[in-house]
C-alpha cells in the first residue's frame, strides 16, 4: 500500500544568479537585497474612494495579493515601502498625501491606481487635484475606472520589477535627488 503525496504547487522565488559550490553560494548584495525587497513589499493603502473597494477585492482570497509577498498592509507611513494611492484626491487632501509620502522612509515607491489618482479622471473641476503626480513622484500608473484586480496585480508586478532592477541605494543617485527636488521634497 502506497501513500500518494500530492505534488505541491507552491512556487518559491529562485535564487539569483551566482556561484554555487559545496557549502557556499556567492552573488552580489544588490541582487539579494533586490530579491528580498521585491518579495516583501509593505503597501500603505491610501484609499479615498471606489478604487479602494477594488483594492479590497485584490487583497481578499480570490485575487490574494499576499501571493506576491505584499500581504502585510502598513497603516503607518513610517513602515511602508509602497504608497498605493487609490481614488480621487481633492485639492484639500493634496498636502496630506504629500505629508504621508514625506513620512515614508527610503526606499519608497508610489503606485497610482485608477483614472482619478493618475489624472483627475472625470473630475475635471476646481476642487480635485488633476493627478497626484502634481504633488508627489509616481512610479507606476494603473489605468482604469476602477481597474480590475488583475490590473492592480500587474501594477504590483511592475513595481516589483522596478525594485529588483534598482540599485540598493537609489536615494543617493543624482537623478533621484533631482526628481525629488523638482517636487520640493528633500
Amino acid at each position: 500500500m502506497s501513500i500518494e503525496v500530492e505534488k505541491s504547487n507552491i512556487q518559491v522565488v529562485n535564487s539569483p544568479a551566482g556561484i554555487e559550490g559545496p557549502g557556499f553560494f556567492a552573488t552580489s548584495v544588490d541582487k539579494v537585497i533586490g530579491m528580498a525587497r521585491k518579495n516583501s513589499i509593505w503597501p500603505l493603502p491610501f484609499a479615498t474612494s471606489c478604487c479602494g473597494i477594488e483594492f479590497m477585492a485584490t487583497m481578499a482570497a480570490h485575487y490574494d495579493m499576499g501571493r506576491f509577498g505584499a500581504e502585510r498592509l502598513s497603516f503607518s507611513p513610517r513602515q511602508a515601502d509602497l504608497l498605493m494611492v487609490m481614488g480621487t484626491i481633492a485639492k484639500k487632501m493634496a498636502p496630506i498625501l504629500r505629508q504621508v509620502y514625506m513620512q515614508m522612509a527610503e526606499p519608497r515607491w508610489v503606485l497610482s491606481m485608477g483614472a482619478c489618482a493618475s489624472s483627475g479622471g472625470i473630475f475635471d473641476t476646481y476642487s480635485v487635484l488633476q493627478g497626484i503626480d502634481r504633488v508627489i513622484p509616481v512610479d507606476v500608473y494603473v489605468p482604469g475606472c476602477p481597474p480590475r484586480p488583475e490590473q492592480v496585480l500587474d501594477g504590483i508586478l511592475k513595481i516589483q520589477e522596478l525594485i529588483q532592477k534598482e540599485s540598493i541605494r537609489r536615494r543617493d543617485t543624482p537623478q533621484y535627488k533631482a526628481l525629488l527636488a523638482e517636487y520640493g521634497i528633500e
Binding site: 485639492k91 484639500k92 489624472s119 483627475g120 475635471d124 473641476t125 476646481y126 476642487s127 488633476q130
Partner: protein
Amino acid sequence: MEDILPVIESKLRETFGDAIVSAEMSKDFPVFTIKKDKIIDVVKFLYDEPEMQFRFLTDLCGIHFPDNKGQELGVIYHLHNLRRNWRIRLRIFFALNDSVVPTLTTVFSTANWMERETYDFFGITFKGHPNMKRILNVDDLGGFPMLKEFPLEDPTRTDKNDSMFGR
C-alpha cells in the same frame, strides 16, 4: 393644507411695510423677497412672534443670476415652523459689488457654517460673522467657484485635446 401665504404676508406687511418687496407662491412654497438691510429683523420677528414661531433654519445658501443687472447675487433662507409644519423661503437680492450681508448667526447659531459655505462659493461676506473664512475649499483657490463666470474645467490641465471633445 391651509393657505399660509396671506397669513404670513399680512403679518409681515403690518410690521415691515415696504421692506417686503414681494410675496408669492412658488409651487406649494410661500416665498418672500425682502430688502437686504431688513432681513435679520424679519427673521427675528418670524422667530419671536407667537403666531409665527419659525424656529428652525433649514438652509441658507447663495445664488447667482448674472443677467439680473444690479441684483446679480442673492441669499435664500429656508425657515421651518416645527409646531405647525409651515415652511417658508425668504430671499434677498443685491449687486455683485455690494455683496455684504448682515449675519444671521445672531438669531441662529447654525447659520455659522452655512454662511461660511456661502462665502466660500459665492464670495458673499456676512458682516458680524464670528469666523468669516472658507470652509470647504482650499484657502488659495483664488475665486468663488459657484459664480457663473468661474471656469468649469481646471485650467491647469494639459492633457485635454479640444479636437477630441468636438470643440
